[in-house]
Amino acid sequence: MRRFLLPLAIFLVLVGFLAVGLQLNPREVPSPLIGKPVPAFRLAQLHAADKLIAPEDLRGKVWLLNVWASWCVSCKQEHPVLVDLARQNRVTLVGLNYKDERGAAINWLRQHGGDPYLVSAYDADGRVGIDFGVYGVPETFLIDKQGVIRYKHIGPITDEALKTRILPLAEELARG
């Protein structure tokens, strides 16, 4: 009887490791930017090519930077959630239109329930995206009043993610 105990224990440890491993999403790479100042950029606005937008313009605000594109399939999934969030007016929502084509992006917003963003920065060649460590769209960063990145959400934003993580943290940062 005792000679089976050790293999059984090893097996159980292995099962434990695999069970934890299966829960992890290999596409969610922890961002090294959390707790760091938001990367500097100065980009043209999506809707007004002659106007610029920079993180300094949002100093003193808690804001979400949502990386999106008209070619991004899962952006369609999160878009209604963002439109709903914009209606509630609980946090400033800024877009980073990533590696897109201006006309296609504006059209996409029109076709998918409107523009939830205060403003969208137009990152045509994706250079700013690289500074943000973007590797899969959509991605969303929560940035505090001092311009420090506090949280990163990878993949489409869900109601659940907003309610349990993003909005509570945003409201805490807005108070502090």
Binding site: P26, R27, V29, P30, S31, P32, L33, K99, G126, I130, D131, F132, G133, Y135, G136
Partner: protein, 172 residues
């Protein structure tokens, strides 16, 4: 009958013509595909390209799982290679380029993660397992060899002698 023969001839001529068209199309498109693949990477200084490739070998393509940037054709990898090329052009060292990537994408982007407090298990784990396994094997072997030379009791000695003796008695 003649009508049928004519139909067959027409059909096979048509098939032949189609096959010929297909061959020609292949002949026309193959070089086009090859040329396009060649243009996907900028033709420049081969020394720079070799450096780009060497660095790209050590960087993980985050969108394609288990592929290096050098092996991958994804848009993420293409952008990264373009970035590396630009940085080499700006005179950055290999270390500058790797640091740039780690600052943005974290240690996970490296195929050779650095040894530090969060990665020591990753590096030391296999050796730790080997040591444990060797210790286990050594203990097992020692136990077995001590069992092999176990002493026989007096009654067992007598029983053995009887068995051996009787056999010798039966076979003169």
């Amino acid at each position: 009958m003649a009508e049928r023969m004519l139909w067959l001839a027409q059909e096979s001529a048509l098939a032949l013509r189609r096959m010929l068209a297909l061959f020609l199309a292949c002949g026309m498109f193959l070089p086009a595909i090859a040329a396009d693949g060649g243009l996907a990477r900028p033709v420049g200084d081969p020394a720079v390209e070799a450096r780009v490739n060497r660095l790209a070998e050590d960087l993980r393509c985050l969108t394609c799982m288990g592929q290096s940037i050098a092996d991958s054709q994804s848009s993420f990898s293409t952008d990264m290679k373009r970035e590396i090329r630009t940085m080499i052009g700006a005179g950055k060292s290999d270390k500058d380029i790797m640091d740039f990537m780690v600052q943005r994408y974290g240690d996970f982007v490296l195929y050779r993660p650095p040894v530090k407090s969060t990665t020591w298990l990753l590096w030391g784990g296999p050796f730790l397992l080997l040591i444990v396994a060797l210790a286990f094997l050594a203990a097992k072997l020692r136990k077995r060899s001590s069992q092999a030379v176990a002493q026989l009791s007096a009654s067992e000695h007598r029983q053995a002698a009887r068995l051996l003796g009787s056999r010798e008695g039966e076979n003169p």
